[in-house]
Symmetry: C2
Subunit: 368 residues, 2 copies
Amino acid sequence: MATMNDVAKLAGVSVSTVSYVLTGARPISQRTRDKVLAAMHELDYHPNAMARGLASRRSTLLGLLLPMDERGLGATETAFVTGAAGAASAAGYHLMLHPVAANDLEALRQLASRRLLEGALLMEVRLADERVQVLRQLGVPVMLIGRTDDPTGLPYVDIDFDQTVRDAVAHLVGLGHRRIVYVNHSPRSIDAGYGPARRTQDAFLAAMNGHGLIPLMIAAEDSAAGGRAAISTALAQAPDLTAVLAMNESAVFGILGELAVRGLRVPDDVSVVSMVTSPQVAELATPALTAMTSPGSTMGRIAVEVLLQALSQGQPEIQPEAPARPIHQQLLPCTLEVRGTSGPARVEPLTLDGRHRPRTERGSPLRS
Amino acid sequence: MATMNDVAKLAGVSVSTVSYVLTGARPISQRTRDKVLAAMHELDYHPNAMARGLASRRSTLLGLLLPMDERGLGATETAFVTGAAGAASAAGYHLMLHPVAANDLEALRQLASRRLLEGALLMEVRLADERVQVLRQLGVPVMLIGRTDDPTGLPYVDIDFDQTVRDAVAHLVGLGHRRIVYVNHSPRSIDAGYGPARRTQDAFLAAMNGHGLIPLMIAAEDSAAGGRAAISTALAQAPDLTAVLAMNESAVFGILGELAVRGLRVPDDVSVVSMVTSPQVAELATPALTAMTSPGSTMGRIAVEVLLQALSQGQPEIQPEAPARPIHQQLLPCTLEVRGTSGPARVEPLTLDGRHRPRTERGSPLRS
DNA sequence: CTGAAAGCGCTAACAA
DNA sequence: TTGTTAGCGCTTTCAG
């Protein structure tokens, strides 16, 4: 592999000139630049990232701190990751995947102390998240995906749960629904300080109150079985319910399944709206899910751009009286996409056991 | 940040001694080691990854080359990624995400030439994949996830599609199914040299022939709509079909949906087996999908371990007559998990239009 | 078992 | 506009 020295020699200039041609950190005459570029081309020169990193203290590496806790990556998280990776690539940066348990602060400290990563993206931020302090203390700029309880002074991008819930509830209320049950994440998640669970819960209460309606909430395990159990409970508690709003991508499918088993039609008998859901997943259901589409990929892109922004103005101590751009804190709402699982509220009551007349219009009983 | 020099000074030894304590590359007396460790602890010393990388030419960075082409990451790919990241972490390595289009060789060359990555994992390997040559040429060890047409001399880990298809078909045949349709990926995928599509196709033909059965195959778009279209076509072409074997996680849900809409019961009227599917996804369906469970996370782990293996014996030119471990080529079958969508073949024919008697046993027509 | 010292390939003062 | 040069922090011969 040719080094910068080789290039300098061949071009008849000094190494610093070659370096400056590459970094653009100082003006180079066209003539010189051409010579250098020609030499680089001839030698098939490529800068050595490690050497550059050591000398400049910039690794062009961003750490993506994954939770790796329980529910693995869902479609939304995956979209986030690919969005972030794409944005990093576009900026000449690279994304490193770090499966670090949220409570393994020591591993995180190790990682950050190696000076490998210039900045870090924290996924699955919890309301009280110690990782933030650890990284800050080590001088690693962070960007939160989600936010802590009190995110003062911390840059973040998160889903606007308030807005999202409000829009979802408004959609249902607009369709005439009055009795709406909210199926949330598990009690365990809520207790663990899982922001989305807590925030949507509060938002749901507020939204329902705003409409003068009585909120009903049920915590479900993050699984199809959890969804089935939740809807069963819901029907028992509120036989008059006409709509379900569900966080928790996995549970939704259980809800749909259980409704079908009980002979309840969606959306004729019960409407279902899924929160924070990717279109791909929404399309898997039949009919396709009316859902609040999560801005996964967009959030990933924004997160990286903001972090790079911060890095670029953190490093060079140019302009002592720099206008110190305000900390970036942004909420993105999920957008309602009406598909096949939401419709006008039914007016007739269901039978007592939560079952209902099956559809008989389709197919014909021709089997022998 | 304390440097190795600081540690050496405090411990009263030379920097090389400190280095050797860290790397273990040469024996150090217990006394000296203790002094050094104490000093490191006192100074809260952490080695600088860039400096180490520059000096040793080992970055502890592995590149994960994602396709980023069309269908984003599915559950199986995601499991693979997290499995790989976990294995890398465990070995003190890091995984870098590189969204490089499979045909953007120039970008790949750039990336590999920077000497940032020690090795690369190629995902979504195509039957003819130029990325392999590019990387080899640049001296970057590769590990394939999937395999090219002729993988001679290339280390890989891939799904054993032959075995998987054989097992799936055997399961269905064992249940009495004779008329089985295989719903594959899109014609576009097949033409593009997408290995899984081609290999399962061949395997299906062979398996059906082996049972003396007539194979029927349909290419479907990777979406629920594609699945719906495929099953419609299938029912038109073969009204006597009793089972569907489906590649293509998205299409499966369309198939199930369309069957339900037509009043066909699963598995009573038609059995459905999903190929290369993650348990999480299988559980979303109601009833849960009988599926060939993909070894996503395991493959990820193996891929990393094999690559690290190769790195460790590629670098040190110790033992000139090293036994040159054979190239690692491994196929992992998906394992059958029988859930709710497969059952004994029905004996009565369906109606001509592919519809069937709906279930009337459930629920009761109590609605006014 | 340990030390001294020469780099690894590049950046960024400092100097001209 | 360009060159000189001192590191960046660590690994790894080469000596002892």
